[in-house]
């Protein structure tokens, strides 16, 4: 079965710093989804990537899917306290409807 591993597990950064979160898949990714979860709340969709080499940005968050489609990175520029939360990568599993999720990266941003 496909597994998604995220790194780091936890990240504490000072406001204004840049950071990167990685998501590595044990199999080829057909669709890679980034979600953000605030503690005790639901998952909020951030971005979806499908093609190798694809890069998407939304405000200060940029996500990229590598050419081999087995790894994705999420980069936050000039982090703010509002970026704090748990970032989850999710993947389409072949021809099924479901997404599987990575282990999550907990981000804390302090002033």
């Amino acid at each position: 079965s496909q597994e998604l591993e995220q790194s780091p597990q936890s990240l504490i950064v000072q406001e204004g710093k840049n950071l990167t979160i990685n998501c590595t898949s044990s199999k080829t990714l057909y669709g890679l989804y980034w979600y953000k979860q605030k503690y005790g709340e639901g998952l909020i969709f951030l971005m979806m990537l499908q093609k190798g080499g694809e890069e998407k940005s939304h405000e200060k968050i940029t996500a990229k899917l590598d050419e081999k489609k087995q790894q994705s990175s999420l980069h936050i520029t000039a982090s703010q306290p509002s970026h704090a939360g748990i970032y989850l990568c999710g993947a389409d599993v072949g021809w099924t409807d479901k997404l599987i999720f990575g282990t999550g990266t907990r981000l804390q941003v302090f002033p």
């Binding site: 639901g42 998952l43 969709f45 979806m48 989850l88 999710g90 389409d92 409807d97 997404l99 999720f101």
Partner: protein, 117 residues
């Protein structure tokens, strides 16, 4: 913006009791899902539902679990006889499921926290 709503937000129950968690998916979505997240662990897939039947289920989704779409708007998860290990946050999600780009973007509800004593 359309959203998925879940009730209750928190339920406490005694072991062995039946629990029903309710969800109202986004109205034009065709696929519905239940996921769960045990405290400190991954978000795990339980079941997907399409065209009034289960399309896929995980090993976790055993005979104690059932799902239903009793009317045109609600989607429910029933746990027949709760166990301590059923304590978790349960998330409902829905997607357009039309096969187009982004069709598998899941919109999640805020979750229902189940505590089994």
């Amino acid at each position: 913006e359309p959203e998925v709503t879940q009730t209750p937000s928190h339920q406490v129950t005694q072991m062995g009791q039946e629990v029903i968690l309710r969800c109202v998916p986004i109205s034009n979505h065709l696929y519905f899902y239940w996921y769960r997240q045990i405290l400190g662990q991954k978000v795990e897939f339980l079941v997907s539902f399409y065209n009034n039947e289960i399309s896929e289920k995980s090993e976790i989704f055993d005979d104690q679990f059932s799902v239903e779409r009793p009317d045109g708007s609600n989607f429910t998860l029933k746990i027949r006889s709760t166990k301590l290990e059923d304590s978790a946050m349960y998330f409902c999600a829905s997607s357009e499921g039309t096969g187009g780009v982004g069709a598998n973007v899941l919109t999640f509800g805020a979750g229902s926290r189940l505590t089994v004593l």
